[in-house]
């Protein structure tokens, strides 16, 4: 039974429960709702919630836990020799899953029945060939234990699915009966329902916390795996990045960090002055009409997806910089370069700096400006000597937030900065960043056993820590140094 069907059945039961609960409450008082503690529909809702929520939660938990339970049971069937031959348990299990999928496809397309599947023998029939016919390509021939594991995987999967359907529906019916039997005119149905809803609201707000926990746990856990395979000392202090998928790679983070910081630095050199000056002009000089048109237009820059900037860097800015600056000046002949990515990212960051700075400049009280004007200062002197110092913590915060965006930005650098890990000062050379390498190490067919793949998690952890630190720093600066007026 598919998940969708089970959900439908549960919801159908819940709706029936609602109707029954409401009816039962009303008939208990012979249709006179004044004798009920709560409005009649609350009795219905109490049945609905007790039917639907616990059973659907059970289904979610089941779906999350099922794969790892099956994995463990099946992994026990795989002999040590096969694990050693394939390199790791993960690779064997991937094969098992593929074969199981292939048997399913064979059952569907070639009309193989259960008896036929049981009769499959690895040594007699050409499993690999037959699987290839249904579109499942295997790297090597299938041994009998692996085939058995795949068979077990299939049958476990099917029986667990069935067990889940039964358990969920039983839970729904149990909830329905439990809630329906409790209904009597004195039941505080509204309080019950509201308590229930409150629990739902609280658990929804837990999702935000769970996401953070999930991010940290997955990054730390896989990074820890990585550091068991690859010495942390080399990762943190080596200056060469040269992954080889055969093994013996050097995975030093410095070239990547250097590229990231260089690109971010250039982008801030572009974005900080332009964004700040634009914010000053818009908040101090511009007429309301100009402000009302220009501000949204600048903010369009923030709404454009980064893939568009990436394409812009790739097909326009990169070739332009190469043909007009890099080649004539003899600085290089690569169209993807730190400069390309930095410039384009700078354009993207302009509205981040300008919007935040704009808000902060506007928050400086008018009395301070008036005081300065009264002493005879010109407008620009007022801005430079009074408004900006007052707004400085906020502006620094805005720039730090822009920096954290720059460090985490992916598509622009993937398409504009290049893939060569280098430590060089020449901005017209292709360099690479942390995010580019996360993408390149994790795309394609990946098995999570080699340091070359797992390094991406360590890189992700680095990235996460960097951006988090910048954000916290920005927050602290704003909180600590903000002048409190009024």
């Amino acid at each position: 039974m598919s998940v969708g069907l089970i959900t439908l059945i549960v919801l159908g039961l819940a709706v029936l429960g609602f109707i029954y609960g409401r009816h039962r409450a009303l008939s208990a008082v012979e249709g006179d709702a004044r004798h009920l503690h709560s409005l009649p529909s609350y009795y219905g809702w109490s049945v609905f919630l007790f039917t639907a929520v616990p059973s659907l939660l059970l289904m979610c938990a089941w779906l999350i836990l099922q794969p790892s339970i099956i994995e463990n049971r099946v992994a026990a069937l795989v002999p040590e020799a096969d694990i050693a031959a394939a390199g790791s348990l993960n690779l064997v299990m991937a094969d098992v899953r593929r074969i199981a999928g292939g048997i399913d496809a064979m059952a569907k397309e070639a009309g193989l029945d259960e008896a036929g599947i049981d009769a499959l023998r690895a040594d007699l029939s050409d499993i690999r060939g037959r699987l290839a016919e249904v579109g499942v390509a295997l790297g090597s021939n299938v041994g009998e234990p692996i085939l058995n594991a795949a068979r077990e995987f299939r049958s476990l999967n099917a029986s667990m699915r069935m067990a889940m359907a039964v358990a969920v529906i039983v839970a729904a019916v149990a909830g329905l009966v439990f809630a329906a039997l409790r209904i009597n005119p004195a039941l505080r149905a509204r309080n019950l329902v509201e308590q229930f809803v409150l629990v739902l609201l609280v658990s929804c707000s837990m999702i935000a916390v769970a996401t953070t926990v999930g991010i940290i746990v997955s990054l730390v856990f896989e990074s820890w795996h990585f550091f068991q395979l690859y010495p942390a000392k080399d990762f943190l202090f080596s200056t060469t990045w040269n992954p080889k998928f055969g093994g013996g790679s050097s995975l030093g983070i410095w070239p990547l960090l250097w590229g990231t910081l260089y690109v971010s630095f250039i982008s801030l050199i572009v974005a900080a002055p332009i964004g700040l000056l634009a914010a000053i002009y818009l908040s101090e000089y511009a007429t309301p009409k100009v402000r009302a048109t220009v501000k949204p237009l600048l903010e369009v820059l923030a709404g454009i997806p980064s893939i568009v900037y990436g394409l812009f860097a790739l097909i326009t800015v990169g070739p332009l910089l190469r043909d007009w600056i890099a080649v004539p000046a003899g600085l290089g002949d690569s169209s993807s370069s730190v400069m390309t990515a930095g410039l384009v990212m700078g354009i993207m960051l302009i509205p981040y700096v300008s919007s935040l700075s704009d808000d902060i400049i506007n928050a400086v009280p008018q009395a301070m400006r008036d005081g300065s004007f009264g002493l005879g200062a010109t407008h620009s002197e007022t801005i430079k000597r009074v408004v900006l110092p007052a707004a400085l913590p906020g502006i620094v915060g805005a720039i730090l937030l822009a920096a954290s965006r720059a460090i985490g930005e992916t598509m622009i650098v993937v398409m504009g900065a290049g893939a060569a890990a280098k430590l060089s000062l020449n901005p017209f050379e292709a360099m690479t960043t942390v995010t580019v390498k996360i993408v390149s190490q994790l795309t394609g067919d990946t098995e999570f056993a080699s340091p070359e793949t797992l390094v991406a998690f360590a890189l992700g952890l680095t990235l996460f820590c960097f951006t988090l630190a910048l954000n916290v720093l920005a927050l602290v600066i704003v909180r600590k140094y903000r002048e409190q007026y009024e």
Binding site: E71, I207, V209, L219, M411
Partner: protein, 450 residues
């Protein structure tokens, strides 16, 4: 007493009149003008960058919506395509695309001879090379779908190859063709003659929006169909999950939660999640949804889940602002006539905050639609040729998404794909524009000022 000392300290070169500015005043005024001009310059740079960005991408992309097609009459010869004459599909399927290719070639040669176009400068194979390699397969599918066409003469529209297409769009020239192994200047001359004779023309191409991706060799048949469908699936998942969860979280934090360490923690958390780089969400999805929970790679469900997690902070922040904007008097009035706290929120505050919530949700969806980095990590860069089925099964089948399709096309060597990528950007931007327009209209029409 201070008056006297100030007089003494006054500069000696005081100007005779207030009406003529002294050097210092002029300097200060010049500084003022300079500062203003710097502001104007900064804004101009920003706006110019926007214009440059849009024109460069849009200018490149419009070509993708037009496609050069070859239109020739083809006689579907029964003797070649269905030797048995039984119209039995199983038998007819034995004729491969090579067989159909020969039929097309014959028809093309006949048509060219008919129009008096000289093809002696090139080999017969190269004349055929003006047409997409997909043409034979298209014709075969057409015949297999409707065997009654056999024996008739039909007008067949075939895509020209990307080089011929590029020639009529100005991307390929005679000079570049000399260096190109895929096309020769002689072939282009024939194409030009065919164009003059009206056999080749460049038409509006709906296929760009409906066809699926194609292999490296035939950019002319690559379309956005799967990507648009995949993006739509993901947006549905994001909407269905993030709106209720986001609203529930906001209601709890804004209306119910006691002020304590725990709720502070949740608030800090949400603020931080909004600033986490999108690629980190991709790593989370890879580790949690694919490795741990065993969901399939490149499936819209995984993409939808990760985009939901990314969109949640945006929606929560917008919803809380909308709830905050509802004046407390509404709550007080509801409580005053005997509503419970829950009732006052669900019956009064929430409906009043709904326009603001929906606006925030649409803007969050627009963000999610343009996001590509996390999708790269969950395998949506895979080459997907088949359309996913209708939901719910389709949610588990491989698909791709608009921004990822753009990325994928830019990674290919044929310049025709760059044009397609820019065209895909136009489609993406149109969708974003529509969503933003809806959000603005919602805000204008339904937002209440208290």
């Amino acid at each position: 007493m201070t008056d006297a000392s100030m007089h003494d300290a006054a500069p000696q070169n005081r100007p005779a009149s207030l009406l003529t500015a002294d050097a210092r005043t002029r300097r200060r005024k010049a500084a003022e003008t300079r500062f203003r001009l710097m502001g104007v310059a900064a804004i101009s740079v920003g706006l110019l960058a926007l214009v440059f960005l849009l024109t460069s991408v849009l200018g490149n992309g419009f070509g993708a919506f037009r496609q050069t097609v070859v239109e020739i009459p083809i006689t579907l010869d029964e003797a070649v395509l269905d030797k048995s004459g039984t119209r039995d599909l199983e038998v007819m399927k034995k004729v491969t695309t090579i067989g159909y290719g020969k039929v097309i070639q014959k028809a093309l040669e006949a048509e060219l001879a008919n129009r008096g176009i000289d093809t002696s400068a090139v080999k017969a194979k190269d004349v055929m090379g003006l047409m997409s390699k997909e043409a034979a397969a298209d014709l075969r599918n057409m015949v297999l779908a409707d065997p009654s066409l056999l024996g008739q003469t039909i007008t067949f529209n075939a895509f020209a190859t990307s080089r011929v297409d590029g020639f009529f769009k100005g991307r390929v020239t005679m000079e570049s063709a000399k260096l190109d192994s895929n096309i020769s200047p002689e072939q282009l001359q024939i194409a030009q003659a065919m164009h003059d004779a009206g056999i080749i023309e460049t038409k509006w191409n709906w296929g760009f929006l409906t066809m699926s991706d194609s292999s490296e060799l035939r950019p002319e048949t690559a379309g956005l169909g799967v990507a648009i469908l995949g993006s739509a699936y993901m947006m549905i998942i994001v909407l269905v999950l993030s709106l209720p969860i986001g609203v529930a979280t906001s209601i709890y934090l804004e209306e119910m939660a006691p002020k304590n360490k725990w709720t502070d923690l949740i608030e800090v958390n949400i603020a931080n999640l909004a600033a986490v780089p999108s690629i980190v969400y991709g790593i989370l999805a890879l580790a949690l949804f694919i490795n741990f929970m065993g969901l399939p790679q490149s499936a819209p469900i995984v993409g939808g889940l990760v985009l939901t997690l990314m969109t949640l902070p945006t929606i929560i922040i917008a919803t809380r602002a909308a709830l905050k904007a509802v004046p407390p008097s509404i709550r007080d009035a509801a409580l005053g006539v005997g509503a419970s706290k829950m009732q006052s929120i669900f019956h009064h505050v929430l409906p009043l905050a709904m326009p603001g919530i929906l606006t925030g949700t649409i803007l969050g969806l627009a963000r999610a639609l343009g996001e590509s980095a996390p999708l790269l990590l969950i395998g949506m860069v895979a080459f997907v040729k088949d359309f996913p089925a209708a939901p719910p099964q389709g949610l588990m089948q491989p698909a791709t998404a608009l921004p990822v399709q753009v990325y994928q096309w830019t990674q290919r060597s044929d310049p025709a794909f760059v044009e397609r990528a820019s065209g895909a950007i136009i489609v993406l931007l149109v969708f974003l524009l529509l969503m933003n327009a809806v959000a603005i209209v919602l805000r204008r029409r339904f937002e209440r000022r208290w």
